[in-house]
């Protein structure tokens, strides 16, 4: 079809595994409560049992909170954050790692969350835009974005800010030119670039801890 979202996984492979899981889960279930399951199988009850086998356990620390999760291996970190943890501050702009709207920090490093599977981050610390402020006190980078009007529609903003914080921490905010180069993975279609650069310079020059 138009798009095969998972080109590396042949469809039949998945189906075969699913068939196996269905059969084994059904057999197990049949041994336990035969009458009910025979009825339920028609109502896709087997799918729900198979579902449990398809998920893998995952422990994450997200914005300082420990999360014990069960996720499908194919779920991206971005979709996990947005759709399961309801942390929608992290944005989807392309799903291909080309726009930076989904930038989060993983163990302090900036990462395009759309390009990594959630299960790859077991035991790691994730910081999203929701975890940047300390209570009511905005992070200096957030303050600077407001002050310099480093956005318009606001959609790329969380990614820009997460990237900007990392840019300063990495030591890549030494000059206007360097900031532009190291922020070029974060697209702002509204074109607020000059203001974003000004915000980053302000934070860098202010010497506040980021």
């Amino acid at each position: 079809m138009a798009t095969n979202p998972e080109p590396d996984v042949p469809a039949n492979h998945d189906e075969n595994r699913r068939t196996f899981l269905k059969q084994s889960s059904l057999l197990t279930a049949l041994a336990l409560v035969p009458g009910q399951v025979v009825d339920a199988a028609a109502a896709k009850f087997d799918e729900r049992i198979a579902d449990a086998f398809e998920k893998v356990p995952l422990s994450l620390k997200v914005n300082g909170v420990k999360q014990k999760l069960s996720v499908e291996p194919r779920a991206t970190l971005l979709d996990l954050l947005r759709e399961q943890l309801h942390l929608t501050g992290t944005k989807k702009g392309c799903d291909y790692g080309q726009c930076g709207a989904c930038t989060v920090h993983v163990n302090g490093q900036r990462v395009n969350s759309c390009l990594s599977f959630a299960v790859m981050h077991d035991g790691q610390e994730i910081t999203t835009i929701e975890g940047l402020a300390k209570g009511d006190d905005l992070h200096p980078m957030q303050e600077a974005f407001v002050k310099h009007d480093g956005f318009q529609c606001g959609y790329c903003t969380p990614g820009q800010i997460m990237s900007a914080v990392a840019c300063v921490r990495e030591g890549h905010a030494g000059s206007e030119g360097e900031i532009r180069e190291y922020m070029s993975g974060n697209i702002c279609r509204c074109g607020a670039y000059a203001n974003i650069v000004a915000a980053i310079q302000d934070v860098k020059q202010g010497g506040q801890k980021v």
Binding site: M1, Y96, E130, D149, C153
Partner: protein, 733 residues
């Protein structure tokens, strides 16, 4: 003043349309056709329907009837429109490649996406046409112009037709802009929820909550009051959300089928194919002038691309008709219908396309005459609108020329190209002019005094990024004499008082006066309430009313004080709804915003790489309500112009009629490294013919004229004239 919604935007708390986690939310993924024209002969949805978690697979074979699809265009009381939006899942016809043919709904996004890959289709393919050049001979006059010779799309003539051909000094050139795609960072997204069988709520990416409400109420044959459209935050649009698109209809159908709220977010690839674009346009411009630099004639023709099912038109030739004093002028606008999705206005619609041809030609003629391009423009400056003979409401374009020339260092510019060099870089300067109508539509706003002393204003307008909420808060604060933190302006909801669609640089022009009027009406209402127990208020005028620290008082009599609480007790809350409408001044004046952009570019002598090293954008946009957000909007428009000039190009492989550019790796938009610090200058002179605030609009003129300024600077740097955008290095080496 900083944006009122800044905190929400920097903390991730601003909620966009795919971020409403309603109970029972299901996820939808669209499947697109793989041919550009033909019929679907077979659809195998069995595997998809049986895949885990799948709730429904909707296709034209099983879609519930959308009542409006059958009645649209059949209402005898309404004249038939020229085509109409694609009716999704309505028949087996394929009109463009990646046209949605199925929608898979599942309980999780991963499951919906997987199952969408299992849908298989067979087609009876027909020969498609996706090449504009090949279809130029089939171009036609838009139906609107065929029916109405006074339509702005009709052929226009003043003086003699095509008089440039007999001019002594003349030029004639063709200009092409490719298809460009809006690509707001937020993908098109909708959350559709049938709250009852006849009550629909959608959280939608739209520039007009009321236009969207009207469209879907019509599709489902519902009273408009039964449809709610919520667009509190819109992650950019640039015109892309001025139209109701097939995916929106699809999500609404799906929500009906599964009887659960459905979230549908397009992929970046789908943003190329089904939600509009700036159309690929061919133009020819002929111009003649006298040796002393007076334009004697211009002929400007264009052929723009549209779809086979909808006649999309835009004002490509408008700027040519009114910008320069040319006694003979001819314009001809044509369309070519191709098997591609419908275009939609993209920032600086039409004018940005037309200005590329006009402002390039102005530079070319100036060079032919050995005149400075600014001097040439000044010699053809218009003090009244040459299209209709009316005076301008205001025009401070000369002031913009001067300010821009000083700021960019125009005096360094050499008449002969290639004369300035900095190491391996050739340096050049260019200018381009932009204009757009200062449009104003009717709008309503409500104002309400809350017990805590906050004034709540509401309006159905949207804010796609310019900072509408902030500007309106300032207008209200100024009118009421309250600090901005005591104002709450709510927007983006179809239940709020009427406003037009956010497009055509018209929001502040239209909604601003409504807010102003609502605030004045609130003052008067409060004065009347106060007057019942206080004679001083009975004698006072509404202008004298002062709201301060929980009291209503009078600027003329500080001793007259009535606590808000007393006023509110009388009415149990105060709401005033007023309407502001354009006056009749529009009849007497031509009303436009104007801009001029100056570019300094550097072109690498070996690689042909173009870097915009400096951009100065100057605007006569009337009163500037908020310097910070307005300047940001100007800078953003300039960045958009850099994309138009140097990189944006959606390419179709005509063999398949499908875009080969399908993401940001193929379709380049400006990134941080491409964007210089843009210097912005506003004349900031009010135009009270437009409205009592004196605003004229910024959004479009921020982009219109930028691309030719860059193209002209590239010529000045290299001597190479590129008439087909984008100016990529291969065209310069």
């Amino acid at each position: 003043m900083s944006r009122v919604d800044g905190r929400l935007k920097v903390t991730g708390a601003a909620t966009y349309s795919a971020e409403y986690k309603l109970p029972g939310l299901a996820y939808a993924v669209l499947v697109g056709s793989t041919i550009a024209k033909g019929r679907i002969t077979g659809l195998d949805t069995k595997a998809a329907a049986g895949a885990p978690g799948v709730l429904a697979v909707v296709t034209h074979l099983n879609s519930p009837k959308v009542p409006g699809f059958d009645t649209v265009g059949k209402d005898p009381s309404q004249p038939a429109t020229v085509g109409g939006p694609l009716k999704i899942f309505h028949d087996d016809k394929i009109r463009f490649n990646d046209q949605p043919i199925a929608l898979v709904v599942a309980d999780t996004l991963e499951r919906a996406r997987y199952a969408a890959g299992l849908v298989k289709a067979q087609y009876a393919q027909e020969q498609h046409q996706t090449n504009l050049e090949a279809n130029k001979p089939r171009a036609f006059l838009p139906t609107s112009a065929q029916k109405n010779p006074k339509s702005p799309m009709a052929d226009y003539q003043r003086g003699q037709a095509d008089a440039y051909r007999s001019g002594a000094i003349k030029l004639e050139n063709e200009y092409v802009i490719p298809t460009e795609v809006h690509h707001p960072m937020e993908l098109q997204a909708i959350t559709a929820h049938w709250e009852a069988p006849d009550r629909l709520t959608i959280y939608d990416k739209t520039q007009g909550t009321l236009a969207t409400r009207r469209d879907f109420a019509k599709e489902w044959n519902l009273p408009e009051a039964n449809v709610k459209v919520i667009a509190t935050f819109v992650g950019g649009a640039f015109g892309n959300a001025l139209h109701s698109w097939p995916h929106e209809s699809a999500a609404i159908i799906a929500a009906k089928v599964v009887n659960r709220p459905v979230q549908l977010m397009l992929t970046r690839e789908q943003m190329f194919t089904m939600v509009g674009y700036r159309p690929h346009t061919w133009q020819k411009l002929g111009m003649s002038a006298t040796a002393d630099g007076k334009i004697t004639a211009i002929t400007h023709e264009s052929i723009g691309q549209t779809s086979t099912y909808e006649e999309f038109t835009e004002s490509t030739l408008a700027q040519t008709r009114m910008m320069y004093q040319s006694p003979n002028l001819t314009t001809r606008y044509r369309l070519a219908a191709l098997d591609i999705g419908s275009p939609i206005w993209m920032r600086g619609p039409g004018e940005a396309t037309g200005a590329f041809a006009l402002e390039s030609a102005m530079d070319e003629m100036a060079y032919l005459l050995k005149l400075d391009p600014m001097e040439f423009r000044l010699r053809n400056y218009t003090d009244q609108d040459p299209e209709n003979g009316k005076p301008w409401s205001t025009k401070f374009l000369k002031e913009c020329y001067q300010a821009g020339a000083e700021r960019v260092g125009w005096s360094k510019r050499k008449l002969e190209p290639g004369a300035l060099r900095d190491g391996d870089w050739l340096v050049g300067y260019g200018m381009g002019v932009g204009t757009f109508g200062a449009h104003r539509g009717g709008a309503h706003a409500s104002a309400q005094l809350l017990p805590g002393g906050t004034v709540l204003l509401q309006c159905a307008t949207t804010d796609i990024g310019p900072g509408t909420g902030t500007a309106m808060t300032q207008i209200a604060a100024d009118t009421l004499g309250l600090p901005p933190q005591n104002i709450r302006f709510e927007l983006g909801h179809s239940d709020y008082p009427q406003a037009g669609t956010q497009g055509g640089s018209s929001t502040v022009n239209s909604v601003g006066p409504a807010v102003q009027e609502a605030c004045l009406a609130l003052k008067d209402k409060l004065r009347q309430l106060a007057a019942t127990g206080n004679a001083a208020f009975a004698a006072a005028k509404k202008e004298d009313v002062v709201l301060a620290d929980g009291y209503l008082t009078l600027s003329t009599n500080a001793a007259a004080r009535v606590p808000y609480a007393d006023l509110l007790k009388q009415v149990g809350g105060t709401a005033v709804v007023v309407e502001a409408k354009p006056g009749s001044e529009g009849q007497a004046y031509s009303m436009y915003s104007f801009s001029v952009h100056f570019a300094e570019v550097r072109v690498h002598v070996l690689t042909g790489e173009v870097r915009v090293s400096k951009l100065v954008s100057c605007a006569d946009a009337g009163t500037i309500i908020n310097q910070k957000t307005a300047a940001n909007q100007m800078k953003g428009g300039a960045v958009g112009g850099i994309g138009m000039a140097l990189m944006e190009h959606a390419i179709i492989d005509d063999r398949y009629g499908r875009y080969v550019t399908k993401d940001f790796a193929d379709y380049h938009v400006p990134v941080h490294a491409d964007a210089p610090a843009v210097e912005v200058f506003f004349v900031n002179q009010p135009d009270y013919h437009v409205n009592a605030l004196g605003t004229k609009g910024i959004g479009e003129i921020a982009t219109i004229g930028v691309a030719p300024a860059i193209a002209n600077a590239v010529f000045n740097a290299t001597g190479k004239r590129v008439r087909e955008l984008p100016i990529t290095p291969d065209k310069l080496v």
